[in-house]
Symmetry: D2
Subunit: 187 residues, 4 copies
Amino acid sequence: MINDFDFRTTCDISGFLKEEIRSIVLYKSDVKDSDIVLDINCGVGEISTEFSKLAQKVYAIDESEQAATISQENIRKHGNIDKVEIINEDELSAIEKIENFDIGIIKAKKDNYIEVIFKVHEKINSKGRIVILTNILDFEVNIVNELSQMNYNPKITQINISNGILLNKGIKMESQNPMTIISIKKR
Amino acid sequence: MINDFDFRTTCDISGFLKEEIRSIVLYKSDVKDSDIVLDINCGVGEISTEFSKLAQKVYAIDESEQAATISQENIRKHGNIDKVEIINEDELSAIEKIENFDIGIIKAKKDNYIEVIFKVHEKINSKGRIVILTNILDFEVNIVNELSQMNYNPKITQINISNGILLNKGIKMESQNPMTIISIKKR
Amino acid sequence: MINDFDFRTTCDISGFLKEEIRSIVLYKSDVKDSDIVLDINCGVGEISTEFSKLAQKVYAIDESEQAATISQENIRKHGNIDKVEIINEDELSAIEKIENFDIGIIKAKKDNYIEVIFKVHEKINSKGRIVILTNILDFEVNIVNELSQMNYNPKITQINISNGILLNKGIKMESQNPMTIISIKKR
Amino acid sequence: MINDFDFRTTCDISGFLKEEIRSIVLYKSDVKDSDIVLDINCGVGEISTEFSKLAQKVYAIDESEQAATISQENIRKHGNIDKVEIINEDELSAIEKIENFDIGIIKAKKDNYIEVIFKVHEKINSKGRIVILTNILDFEVNIVNELSQMNYNPKITQINISNGILLNKGIKMESQNPMTIISIKKR
């Protein structure tokens, strides 16, 4: 397991997923050592780092150059960089080029999130797992509605984590912002 | 109602209670216009401000001079300063001198919190309401245990509030830290 | 204050608002004793009960006959029934007939929720407060978007309450389901 | 991954850990395929089931005969029963007999929880991970205080999960009760 503070982060790149969220993403992805993983909007690479220790191969995709650079650094330090291909390119064209993958992790951050989900769903292997993260309610509602129309019954989980800080006088709880995870398994 | 941003706050004084928490404190206090209120560890005076609009009289107690000053300013601006007596003194000796009150609001912040609760309980009028706020788990457990031993069955409520921020792309939720409210009515 | 268990409830009528939620609704409504209040989808009447103790007049509206009956019973027992007019009629036609009100509390439960909000907004007095409750994410997103298009910047609060149950071995926390409150003040 | 509804549960055995909590326990345990795991108060065996798929060996300990029986059934159906030894015995004497283990998962449910933690800590291999689950605040505070006195700085995480239920009108969130996880790595 990797501590949150082990990752190099930066204010310029939002959406870093903390330990508990990463745990749940890993679990919902049902990752096996033969799996090929797409990490879309990889940010500082925390998800790719985790999967690089468990899967066969990871594609870490982010159109930001800074994200690509920090991701590489984090994966190298805490994961298995040999298994990771970092693709510093627009998500849609990046996904288009990848022919074989079993797991798609999508941080829904930009306006093209529905298109990205469709593209991942279209190309992912049968029985592949798609795990979508968002902290925007509008995105959540739209994603669930789109998936419902495709006759999926997505799992929807909102996670509120508070961490205990040990002060002299006792334990003080501090909240993280809520995160929602939506997941399906491709038919 | 008073918006959180209407209050002048300062990093030097912790424990400011936000709108939703103030609402619940007011409700649990069952305040009537004949009530006399003690606001212990009044901080920036947000609770005294609220009660000054609803009760007969409020004693705002804080041993910090800065707290007393800011409280006065906030109550003057948003409440009814004529009804409030600000007591810039150690809590225990302040409470000792007050002979008649119906509501005790206690921010449990310092090590003497149990003593303060006992003193308030001893002096508050029969059928008086005591509402205790804490974000320290150890305090919460100790307070509940002490009240149980006095044969009270306190109400215990942990409140997790997230506020929606309206971004261009949609609603983003941001969490406040959890707050616990423990309340009893004196027999 | 009224305890949750004081209200008669029934499985047939959903949407009962617990103590902490009622507190926050009261606060956000900024109720004064001269105010006239609309309680739309009043359910078992818990909101009308509260406002009947603080406002000048309350219209409790619900198209369900059972809701109207239980509301009357609850208001009679715990509030001030003389101030309340129970209207057992479709919301939209009920609102249409009321000419003067300052506060609109809306439980968004049925598909016509946007129409109801528009109607309340159209008819409510200037500077009136509209407080909307929902536990459906799609409703929340739509409501906020509609209000934004009317150039409002609504307050959005998601409330997660856990109540402490005092067992022999200690305090166990039990969660209520989350509730979202959206509020505006009419320009 | 195993769905919550895949496990056979029963009202007689409390403390079933849902998907998201199991995810976080697995992550915090940092399990490797050479690890030997103690699952103390195994309940219906959900934790042993998970670890049986990832670790070398699992001891599932519960003094309830019914728990032992259901655990066996669940592990057989969803895990790898060949790796699991079910010990239907008092926790303390069960732990006493096990000489070599790397991970201790403890559901703190009974009054002997501190003794159990001490015993696990005493016997676990160096660098072993202890992950403790509780929903009793008093237990949480006592555990953290005991661990602090042993010069540990435990990680404390309170997890509030809400699951989205897809209704015709939209997504409704339903809350699970909060769960706290306390974890250390043996020095």
